[in-house]
Structure formats: structure tokens, C-alpha cells
């Protein structure tokens, strides 16, 4: 079973996403702030990360940049999501593998997850 880490501070959003992802057979866990995201990734080594750009503590872009610099963690695909239109460029610039603008349809996210998950 593949593991997906959700990093987003909007609890309602995370809750519904969790159910939808679990329904598709993914194991999920959640982090609500940017600061503890890096440590969590290092500890749990998820197969994929869904990362919001606007987070308490540390912006998602910083988290992505730190992860992509790390030798052992850079291979984990990151899908950045944001309610900010202008975030796509920053997300890709920070090393994210894909970007999805909020609000999005779950199918769009599932397609991206399948595309980026290592086999």
C-alpha cells in the first residue's frame, strides 16, 4: 500500500481529502504546519507528498526546497497545491514535481498521483 503525506492547515479540506484518498487504496497521514513537515518526511518516508503553499510556520515552497536538496528525500515526488493563482511558478521553481490550483477535482489529483508515484 502506497503512503501519501498531506501537508495542509485547512482541517476540513484535509479531512475530506483523506477519506477520498483512502477510498482509492492509499494510506495517508497528515501534518498541519510547514515547520514539522521536513522531520515528518524524514521519519516516515512517504511515497508521495501533497503540499500546500500557504502553511503556518514555514511556506510550502521552503519545505519543498529543503526536501529537494536532501540526497535521500529528493526522490519523493511533491505535488504542490495552492489557492493562489501565482503559486505555480514558485512551486515548480522550488522543485515541486507538479502543481494543482485549488479548488480542484479529486480526479485531477488522482491522475497526478498515479503519474508521479514510483512503481
Amino acid at each position: 500500500m502506497k503512503t501519501v503525506l498531506l501537508v495542509d492547515d485547512d482541517q476540513d479540506f484535509v479531512e475530506s481529502l483523506t477519506i477520498l484518498l483512502q477510498d482509492q487504496g492509499y494510506k495517508t497521514h497528515t501534518i498541519y504546519d510547514g515547520k514539522s513537515a521536513y522531520v515528518e518526511v524524514k521519519k516516515t518516508k512517504p511515497d508521495l507528498i501533497i503540499l500546500d503553499s500557504r502553511l503556518p510556520g514555514e511556506p510550502g515552497e521552503w519545505v519543498a526546497r529543503r526536501l529537494k536538496k536532501s540526497k535521500e528525500l529528493s526522490r519523493i515526488p511533491i505535488i504542490m497545491v495552492s489557492a493562489h493563482n501565482g503559486s505555480r511558478k514558485n512551486a515548480i521553481g522550488a522543485g515541486a514535481d507538479a502543481f494543482l490550483a485549488k479548488p480542484f477535482a479529486i480526479d485531477e489529483l488522482l491522475t497526478l498521483i498515479e503519474k508521479h508515484l514510483p512503481n
Binding site: D9, D12, S16, R54, P56, H84, K102, P103, I106
Partner: protein
């Protein structure tokens, strides 16, 4: 009596006409509200008017004569001004912007229109200080970014919930369907509030915020507002003290909006506290409301700006703060329109108390578009 030439032939003589013309141009030059600069081929100032001197922030004209334009703009502008200057001289008219670096260290954004060779080897620059306009444009752009983010955040949840609802409808999860429909309902209310706030600030800016004045029981309204917030927010206990005991003349919904705004702010900016105090008292013909929180507080610097449009609490302590940054601006405007006053007492890291006082009988401002119920004799 000797008649002069002009009266003899009915036309002013040539010298006289030149003098009048020169006087006219000098007067225009001196009094123009736009800055006028005459510069030579190398972009050195030959002459300038008072408005231009003000733009450059110099107290004396002589301080600017013979100085190069490139020396008076910011480093970022200098390269482009230098390059453009030779283009202006060579090709004729041009327009653009540069940023002036004043002697006092402040910067002004200036729009220019240049006319090359209006006299041999002399070039004319018309300057207009557009700093305020630019700042307003930047603020508006920044606000648009925040507004779209705030509107999309609940939409992202609604979209996810509808997909969940489809799943549960397929699987027959009745309880779940009800739970998520309630959440969709809640998010829709949030969106409605956001859109109403956006409409309110537009109306305030146009002076078209409408009021509907009626007599109502303030104590009852306060209880209703607190109950509504308390149902949704379980993190803080909202404790109310005091009574007015008399009907208030004002816009009931707008007053409710003010109360709800200060209480919601108190909760939002005190994430580690567990209560909010609401004190109400009658002071002669005024009612006084104080909402106290035990949160992050407001610095002296912030206090001055807190009722400004688009201002949001600093992000250092709680990050990120959500909201449009318009709530207190609207609340303050409503209180003012009721003939009242709003202010804040605060200590950093101890908490804030927001106060507002409004007359029991609002002195209704004439300027405002006001609807008064016909059965009220005021």
C-alpha cells in the same frame, strides 16, 4: 497725450507681443502643478520650476541646476534613464517612469513626458508625482490576491465535500451525507460573509453604505450574537457581563456585525487562551461595549493602522492569519455612522480590549443613505 504704437495702428507692436508671451510662459512655468525641467544633451538640469523642485525634494533651485538626472534617481532607475536619455535626444518624444531618490532618503515614483530639442540642444521634461497612485494600485493588487485566496479556500473544501457526498450517496451512507451537507452549508455561509464584506467596502468607498434604523433590544441582540459564535467556536468561552436595559435606535444587523467582528477577532488573535470577556454598560445616553481577549496583543505601531482598510495583524505570531483584513475597517465605519467611536487598548503578549461607544439614539448622519421605519418618531 502721447499715444504708443500699438494704439496708433490698433495692433500691439512686436516687442510688446514678445513681452506678453514671455510673461505668459513664465507664469505657466512657475505655476504649473506638473514639474517642468529643461535639460541639456547630457541630461543636466538647466532650469526647473517649483513643482519639479518639490518632486526632487530640494529646498533650493540652485541645488539642482547642472545636476544630472541620473544622479537623482534610484540605482535601479539610473541605468534605464541613462539609456533612455540618449534615445529621447535622438528620436524625439518619449514617456515613461522613474524613481527619484530624494536627499532625505525617501523615494518618489515619477511619470515623465519628454520633448527633445524644443530649443536647440535643450530638452523638455514634464514630471508628475504618481507615488500615491502607484501605492494604491499595489495595495489593490495585493488585496485582490488575498481576496481570491480567501474565496477559493472554502471553495476547495466545498468541491472536496461534493465529491465525498457522491461517494456516500452511492454507498448509502446517510449519516455521512448529512454531516457533509452541513459542512457544505457552513462553507457557503463563510463565502457569503466574504462576499458581503467585499460589497461593504465598495459601498463605504462610494459613500453608499445603507442603514436601516429601528428600535431594538441590545441585550437580546448581544446574547444572540454570542450564542451563534459560541455554537461554532468551542475553543473559547465567551463570557458576557452587564446590561443596557433599554432599547437602542440603530441598524440592528449592522450592530450585530460589529459585535460579531470584534468577538471573532478576539478568538482569532488569542489562539492559546480559552476565554473572551464581553463587558456592556450604559453611560448616560451612550452604550459602551468592551471585548477583551488574552492573546497576542497589538504593538503601538500596529494600533495606529488596525482600523485601516486591508490591514491584517502581523504574521509573526500566528501564521498565517486568514481573512480579508477589512473587518475592523467596516466595523469602525458602522460605529462612526451611528455617531459613535471605536478604539483599542492593548499590551503585547497580554491581550487586547476593543471598545466601542454608540449613542442610545443614533444621531443619524445626513450624508448617509438612511432608511428609517415610518412608525418611528425620531
Amino acid at each position: 497725450m502721447k499715444k504708443n504704437n500699438s494704439e496708433k495702428n490698433g495692433r500691439p507692436d512686436k516687442n510688446e507681443a514678445l513681452r506678453i508671451n514671455e510673461k505668459k510662459f513664465k507664469s505657466i512655468f512657475r505655476n504649473a502643478s506638473d514639474g517642468i525641467v529643461v535639460a541639456d544633451n547630457e541630461g543636466r538640469i538647466v532650469d526647473l520650476n517649483t513643482a519639479a523642485r518639490t518632486i526632487f525634494g530640494a529646498s533650493e533651485k540652485k541645488d539642482l541646476i547642472h545636476r544630472r538626472l541620473t544622479d537623482m534617481v534610484t540605482q535601479e532607475s539610473a541605468a534605464s534613464v541613462h539609456k533612455k536619455w540618449y534615445k529621447i535626444v535622438a528620436t524625439g518624444m518619449k514617456q515613461g517612469e522613474f524613481e527619484v531618490n530624494r536627499t532625505d532618503g525617501s523615494n518618489r515614483i515619477v511619470e515623465y513626458k519628454a520633448t527633445a530639442n524644443f530649443m536647440p540642444n535643450r530638452h523638455l521634461l514634464l514630471l508628475r508625482d504618481i507615488t500615491e497612485r502607484k501605492i494604491e494600485e499595489r495595495r489593490q493588487m495585493h488585496f485582490l490576491g488575498i481576496a481570491s485566496h480567501e474565496l477559493k479556500t472554502p471553495l476547495a473544501s466545498i468541491k472536496a465535500y461534493t465529491q465525498l457526498l457522491k461517494k456516500y450517496l452511492r454507498e448509502g451512507g446517510q449519516a455521512k451525507v448529512e454531516e457533509y451537507l452541513a459542512k457544505v452549508d457552513d462553507k457557503t455561509d463563510k463565502l457569503t460573509t466574504l462576499i458581503n464584506d467585499l460589497l461593504d467596502i465598495t459601498r463605504i468607498k462610494q459613500g453608499k453604505l445603507e442603514f436601516f434604523y429601528e428600535l431594538f433590544d441590545f441585550d437580546e441582540l448581544l446574547t444572540d450574537v454570542i450564542d451563534e459564535i459560541q455554537t461554532a467556536k468551542t475553543t473559547h468561552k465567551i463570557i458576557a457581563k452587564g446590561k443596557i436595559g433599554k432599547n437602542l435606535l440603530g441598524d440592528k444587523n449592522r450592530i450585530a456585525q460589529v459585535i460579531a467582528n470584534v468577538i471573532r477577532n478576539a478568538v482569532k488573535y488569542s489562539p492559546h487562551a480559552n476565554q473572551v470577556m464581553v463587558n456592556v454598560e450604559r453611560d448616560g445616553e451612550m452604550i459602551a461595549v468592551a471585548v477583551q481577549d488574552f492573546g497576542i496583543g497589538i504593538s503601538e505601531k500596529e494600533k495606529k493602522r488596525i482600523f485601516e482598510l486591508y490591514y491584517r495583524g502581523t504574521r509573526r505570531t500566528i501564521n498565517p492569519i486568514s481573512g480579508l483584513g477589512v473587518g475592523l475597517y467596516i466595523a469602525n465605519e458602522i460605529v462612526k455612522q451611528h455617531g459613535g467611536k471605536m478604539w483599542v487598548d492593548s499590551t503585547r503578549a497580554k491581550g487586547s480590549t476593543f471598545h466601542f461607544r454608540i449613542p442610545l439614539r443614533a444621531n443619524i448622519r445626513r450624508k448617509t443613505k438612511t432608511l428609517i421605519r415610518k412608525d418611528l418618531h425620531v
